[in-house]
């Protein structure tokens, strides 16, 4: 198994995130008979936006199958199968549906190894997609990763590009612990260089995506993309942002973030979820515990507005952070005495968001 980064080119092709995921499943299922993929609609013609396309044909209905609408029990089934030596990948088309599975995930999956004294393991992968986009609304849009980061025994990963999608998925499948994977609907069509051979993007290592000296900007999931765009906008007014992608949220590579924040003296976390008790709170608190009072670090969290997600476009636009709001927040932190600055809204849009139109 090799490790690699999104830039490494030998044996790589430009691949979409969704195809990178699909390739990870195909390669791992080929390699290991105990891997199976199940969940509502994994075997239909839409195949979870294409991320499970072809698997049914290649591996048959014993290893690729849909389920009844019974998320709670299906999670338990996955846990049981995992304890019995298989490697289930359980798929949810929306992360919101994980709320139906919390009891099994938190009370059993996270705790089994511990409460059974190390005599069992739970090599389970739970895939869940965040539905941000056109009109998804209250119950098809949530990024609930912080709830899982809270619980010892779970791992949590949120790949932000095609390269990491494949590498993290392979790492998750090979991991002997339950891993919650947060995939982002809007990342599916995005492309990156992806090696053909299997490789793992392992837990606990963040990546400095773009260097900078004035502020440390941590992006989570698709917010990495939006932070990179914010970085471009900021560079035009002479602010240099270092963008970090934690990739794995649990275990979290706090060292890389601490290292950067120690240098820039400013830390902004842009999250794909609410801020209260969120991943941003964790990162800010952990960095400041580490740096101590001499730190004198300015901090700011950005995330969903503290409301339910509305579908109406005017409200939805105000609900989600975007490159413009990220850039404006960074500017306010870096130049607190300047008048507020907001980049031209037209320039803050991301190409794929302009193009995308619903429903799914």
């Amino acid at each position: 198994m090799t490790t690699s980064t999104p830039e490494s080119a030998s044996g790589s092709r430009l691949l979409r995130y969704v195809d990178a995921l699909r390739e990870a499943f195909a390669q791992e299922m080929e390699r290991d008979e105990s891997v199976f993929v199940f969940g509502l609609d994994v075997d239909d013609h839409k195949s979870i936006q294409g991320s499970t396309a072809g698997l049914l044909k290649q591996f048959g209905p014993e290893r690729v199958f849909t389920t009844p609408l019974s998320e709670d029990a299906m999670t338990g089934v996955a846990i049981g199968a995992a304890m019995a030596g298989m490697r289930p990948v359980h798929v949810h088309i929306r992360m919101d549906f994980l709320l139906l599975c919390m009891n099994q995930l938190v009370n059993i999956a996270a705790k089994a190894r511990y409460m059974y004294g190390g005599t069992v393991k739970v090599p389970l992968v739970v895939r869940s997609m965040v539905g941000k986009s056109w009109g998804q609304g209250a119950q098809h849009s949530q990024g609930l990763h912080s709830m899982f980061m809270h619980v010892p025994g779970l791992k949590v990963v949120a790949p932000s590009n095609a390269h990491d999608a494949k590498g993290c998925m392979i790492a998750a499948i090979r991991d002997d612990n339950p891993v919650i994977v947060m995939e982002h609907r809007l990342l599916y069509p995005t492309e990156a260089y992806v090696p053909e051979t299997p490789y793992a993007v392992l837990p606990g290592k963040a990546r400095v995506v773009a260097p900078g000296g004035d502020v440390t900007l941590v992006g989570i999931s698709n917010m990495v993309v939006e932070c990179l765009r914010a970085r471009e906008l900021l560079s035009e007014i002479g602010i240099s942002a270092e963008v970090i992608d934690p990739i794995w949220l649990s275990p979290l590579d706090i060292d890389t973030i601490v290292e950067s924040a120690r240098r820039t003296r400013r830390l902004v976390v842009a999250d794909n979820g609410w801020t209260a008790c969120g991943a941003g709170a964790e990162i800010v608190a952990a960095v400041l515990e580490r740096l101590g009072p001499e730190g004198g670090i300015a901090v700011k969290r950005i995330g969903f507005a503290p409301t339910t997600c509305p579908p109406s476009p005017t409200l939805e636009a105000a609900f989600y952070p975007n490159p413009g709001t990220v850039a404006a927040a960074v500017h306010a932190l870096v130049r607190p005495r300047d008048v507020a600055w907001t980049p031209d809204p037209e320039r803050t849009k991301l190409a794929h968001q302009v193009q995308f139109r619903g429903p799914f």
Binding site: H45, D96, F97, L100, L315
Partner: protein, 319 residues
């Protein structure tokens, strides 16, 4: 249906409801590609007879619990049409002020309990409304519409047991269209003995296979009457067929997961056409123009209404 004056009044009322739902949804489908609608739509075209038949048995004090595929029941229970279309357009005048969208229609005044986009979640909530109706002695009943897929969620079994244990006035209506998205019953149900299962809770059940609006209405009337007398919950499983794709405005028989043949018998006995044929043509024509005007007005209202302003985002997080 014998030709008595009362019966033809019923037929006319049912037809009006059926036709209104059909015209609204066809208009939704027509405008959908123009991007005026701002959230995913789950059309009930072909299944309207269930909502029309059941809601005809209800009174204003009664409640209906609807799903994301809830346009039909919303309309049949008398939900505000302007507010519905405005909601789908994402407008401030929408029934949810643009915060719900097509999947979360609500009209508290008309007794329409808000819909959920998480399948099955509305079942215990509706049961809670029935508990309140009983405790508050309103005399009202609750109808809980669900799909076949929703019966697979654990809360369905939990709710049935609780409703039966407490003899709550709730009629569960399962619109069994044979699919959950693209997955057929055979891949989800161990057997099709749903009514038998529900009956083991001591709940009277009935399975309606004939696709007849009046059969549905009569069954609902009977169940509701028993419930108002304190008889406890009842259950109807009603076979039906979804003519369009799961979500969105189009047909999808080219997608391979089901064949157009499945639709044929259902289209042949389309209740909208069948009931129209039972009524005097001038009545049908009058209803048609009335509905056309109503629907045009609702879409015009939605179109003309303003969007919420960004500052509205923070309203209604807390009461």
């Amino acid at each position: 249906m014998p030709e008595t004056p009362e019966h033809s009044a019923v037929a006319e009322r049912l037809y009006r409801t059926l036709r209104l739902i059909r015209v609204v949804e066809e208009e939704v489908a027509r405008v959908y590609p123009t991007d005026v609608i701002k959230s995913p739509v789950h059309l009930s075209i072909g299944q309207e007879f269930i909502a029309a038949g059941v809601c005809d048995a209800l009174e204003p004090r009664d409640h209906v619990s609807i799903t994301y595929r809830g346009h039909a029941a919303y309309i049949a229970k008398g939900g505000d049409l302007n507010a519905m279309i405005a909601e789908m357009y994402g407008k401030k005048a929408g029934c949810c002020q643009g915060r719900g969208g097509s999947m979360h229609l609500v009209d508290s005044r008309a007794g329409v309990i808000g819909a959920s986009a998480v399948v099955g979640t509305s079942i215990p909530v509706a049961t809670g409304f029935a508990l309140a109706a009983k405790r508050q002695r309103t005399g009202g009943v609750v109808v809980c519409f669900i799909g076949d897929g929703a019966t697979e969620e654990g809360c369905f079994a939990e709710s049935l047991n609780f409703a039966a244990l407490h003899k709550l006035p709730i009629l569960f209506v399962c619109e069994n269209n044979g699919y959950a998205i693209h997955e057929p019953l055979a891949k989800r149900w161990a057997t099709d003995r749903l009514c038998d299962r529900v009956a083991t809770y001591g709940i009277p059940t009935r399975r309606i296979e004939d696709g007849d609006t009046v059969t549905v209405r009569d069954a609902a009337l009977e169940a509701v009457a028993a419930m108002r007398d304190g008889g406890g919950p009842a259950f109807l499983e009603i076979l039906c067929y979804r003519w369009r794709e799961h979500v969105g405005p189009n047909e999808d028989f080219d997608q391979g997961y089901r064949s157009a043949d499945e639709k044929t018998p259902w289209a042949a006995r389309d209740e909208v056409a069948r009931l129209a044929a039972l009524l005097p043509p001038d009545h049908v024509a009058a209803i048609e123009s009335e509905i056309a005007a109503t629907v045009a007005a609702a879409f015009a209202f939605a179109e003309a209404s303003p969007f919420p302003v960004p500052e509205d985002l923070y309203d209604h997080v807390y009461a």
